[in-house]
Symmetry: C2
Subunit: 359 residues, 2 copies
C-alpha cells in the first residue's frame, strides 16, 4: 500500500497531487485530464474536472514548461511606448498572440543599455519567441538566440547583413505611392522629413519617395532630418522648413506622429492645410483619422503583419524552424483631407494612385 505523502505545505498552492489524493487516483491521471492528446476515459476526465474546479486547481504552466520546453510566452521589445504607432503595434500583436494562446512578456528597450541589457534577462525566461520592434540588433545577439534556438522576428525593421527574419510594411512602395499621389495633385516643390537617420523604415520611405519623384522628372526634394519619431521633432522640423525660405507645397513626413506635429507647426504659423501646403504621413495611427488632422497616410497592414510574425516565429503546432526571410507587406494609401490639389488647380485631377478609397 502506498504511503500517502505529507499534506499540503503552507502555501496556497494547489497541485495535481492534491487533486489526485482527493480522487484517490494517481497524479499522472490528473495531468492527463488536462492534456488534450492524452488517452483518458471520458468519465475520469469529468471527475477530475469537477474536483479541480472544486479545489481551484489549475495546472502550473511554469512547471509544465520545464518538460515541454514551451512556455507559451513571447517577448515583445518595444522602444517607444509614447509613439501611438508602437502602442498600436503592441495592441494588435498582443491580441493576436493571445488568440493563439501565447502570452506577451513586455520589454521596454528605452531603458538604459537598450537591447543588449534586456536580451539576457529576456532569455532567462525561456520565451518561445522574441519580437523586436526597435533598437539596434547586433549579429552577436542573433548568434546567441540562434544557439538557443529561440526564434527572433524583427517587426517593422530589418538589418541587412544579418541572418534574421523580419516582417515589415513595404516602405519603399509606400514612399512611391506618396510621391505619385502628391505629384498627381500637382505638387512640385516637395519635402521629405526623415526620422531616425539610420532607421530602415525612414530610409526606405525616403528612397521610394525620391526615386518615384524622379520618375516624374522631379529631381529635387528637400530632405529635413527630424531626428526622431515624435510630435515635437515633427513640429521643429516643420518650423525649420518654413524658416528655410522656400516653403514646399507638399511635405511627406516619415511617420504620422511627426506629420501631426508638423501640421500643428504649419498652422501655428498661419498656413492652411491643405490649401497652402499638403501634408502626408505614414502608419495610419488612430490619431490620423481625427477631423482636426484628417491625415492622408499609408495604412500599415497591421493584421497581416501580426499574422506573419506569428507564422515566422513558428509558434503553431508544426514548429518549422524557418530560414530567415524578410517579408514585405504592402500598405494602403488612405486619402484624407490633409493633402489636396495645388492651390488654384482643379481638385483631385487623378485618383489613380489611391488604391483604396478613404475609410
Amino acid at each position: 500500500m502506498k504511503v500517502s505523502k505529507p499534506g499540503r505545505r503552507g502555501s496556497g498552492r494547489i497541485t495535481a497531487e492534491d487533486v489526485a489524493r482527493r480522487l484517490g487516483v494517481s497524479q499522472s491521471t490528473i495531468s492527463r485530464a488536462f492534456s488534450p492528446s492524452a488517452s483518458i476515459s471520458e468519465n475520469m476526465k469529468k471527475r477530475v474536472a469537477s474536483a479541480a474546479l472544486e479545489l481551484g486547481y489549475q495546472p502550473n504552466v511554469i512547471a509544465r514548461s520545464l518538460i515541454t520546453r514551451r512556455t507559451d510566452i513571447v517577448a515583445i521589445v518595444i522602444g517607444n511606448l509614447v509613439d501611438p504607432f508602437y502602442t498600436t503595434l503592441l495592441r494588435i500583436l498582443t491580441e493576436r498572440l493571445q488568440a493563439s494562446g501565447k502570452q506577451t512578456l513586455l520589454f521596454s528597450s528605452s531603458q538604459a543599455g537598450g537591447l543588449d541589457a534586456i536580451l539576457p534577462t529576456l532569455l532567462q525566461y525561456q520565451v518561445d519567441g522574441i519580437v523586436i520592434t526597435s533598437a539596434a540588433v547586433s549579429s552577436d545577439m542573433v548568434r546567441i538566440c540562434a544557439k538557443r534556438e529561440t526564434p527572433v522576428v524583427l517587426l517593422n525593421r530589418y538589418v541587412p547583413g544579418i541572418e534574421i527574419s523580419a516582417v515589415s510594411c513595404d516602405n519603399v512602395e509606400g514612399g512611391r505611392q506618396m510621391a505619385r499621389y502628391l505629384v498627381e495633385l500637382g505638387h512640385e516643390r516637395l519635402a521629405f522629413v526623415s526620422g531616425q537617420p539610420d532607421a530602415s523604415t525612414s530610409l526606405d520611405r525616403q528612397q521610394g519617395f525620391i526615386s518615384e519623384l524622379a520618375q516624374y522628372g522631379i529631381s529635387s526634394c528637400v530632405i529635413e532630418q527630424a531626428g526622431e519619431y515624435s510630435y515635437e521633432a515633427g513640429y521643429e522640423a516643420a518650423l525649420r522648413l518654413m524658416r528655410s525660405g522656400n516653403v514646399p507645397d507638399g511635405v511627406f513626413f516619415a511617420s504620422d506622429i511627426m506629420a501631426i506635429g508638423g501640421m500643428d507647426a504649419f498652422r501655428a504659423k498661419g498656413l492652411s492645410i491643405p490649401h497652402d501646403i499638403s501634408v502626408v504621413g505614414f502608419n495610419d495611427v488612430p490619431l490620423a483619422a481625427w477631423p482636426t488632422y484628417s491625415l492622408t497616410t499609408v495604412r500599415h497592414p497591421w493584421e497581416e503583419m501580426a499574422d506573419s510574425v506569428v507564422e515566422m516565429l513558428g509558434l503553431d503546432a508544426g514548429a518549422t524552424p524557418k530560414k530567415a526571410t524578410t517579408q514585405l507587406i504592402p500598405g494602403a494609401l488612405i486619402q484624407r483631407s490633409s493633402a489636396g490639389p495645388r492651390s488654384g488647380q482643379a481638385p483631385r485631377p487623378f485618383a489613380r494612385s489611391a488604391r483604396h478609397g478613404p475609410q
Copy 2:
C-alpha cells in the same frame, strides 16, 4: 568515482550541469555562483562567471521559480490600449517594474470574456502579483487570488465592497479643483461629461466637481454621458451639448481623450476655445500638452502611483502581505490655455487654485 551523466541533449539549452562539468565542480556550485547571498569563494565565483560566459549559460528563472516560488513576473491587465491614458500607465508601470527586476506579462482585457476569461490563464503563470487597470472585478476573483496568496492591486479604480488593495489618483479632489478653477475664472454655466457610467473614476470626478460647485452656490450643472473614454465619445457628447440649446461656458470632461474630442467638435462648429467655451480634462496625457489643444487638466501622479503599486504588491524583499487598503494620491492642476476667463472678464482673476504652474 562519479559516473558522468550522458552529454547534452539535442536542444540548444545550456544548463548549470554543463558549466559544472566544464569546470569539474558540482552543479550546486554553479547555482551558488549566481545566488548573491550564497557562500562561495571569490575565486570560484570568477571561474564560474567566465565559464558561463564562454558557454553562454544563463540560469533558467523558470526552473528557479519552481523552488523559490517567485517568478518575478507581474501581470498587468489593461482594458483599452487605444486610450493614451492606459498606454502611459503601462509605460510608467513597466519601467518601474523593470527597474525592480520584475517583468511585465501583459493582458488585454478587451478580449471576449473580459477579466473572467483572463484570470485563469494569468494565474497559471504563477505571477508574483496582478495589477488591474480596468474591467470589472468580482469578489469571486478576489477570493481566488487571496486563496493563492497572489497579491492584487487595482490601479486607477476601486471596488468598494471588496477586500482588495487599490491605488488611484484622488478623483474627488481633482473634480473639486476643476470646479474651483472654472468658477474662479468666472464661469457659471457648467457641464460635466462623464465616461463609463459605472466607473469609479468618472463618478468621483463628477461628485467632486458637483459638490464643489455647490459650495460656490452653483447648484445646476449639465451632466452629459459620453458612455466611454474615447475621442469619438467626447466628440459626440460635445455635439449633443451644443444641440441642447444652452451651450455651457465651461465643460469638464472626465478624461483628456474625451476633452480633446470635445474640443475638436466645438471648433468644428465654429466655437473658439477658450474664448467662447472653456474646456478642461483629466489625466494629463502627452497629447494634452500639444499646442493645438493645450488642455488644462489634472495631472496623474504617475510615478507615485507606480511606486505605490510596487509597494502594495509587496514585491520587494520583505514581502509584507499588506492588508487591503485604498490609497488616493492627489493630482496637480495643470493650467494651460484651453480654459480662460469668461468672455469679457479680466484674465485670471485668481490663481489660488492652481497648485502648480503650467509646465
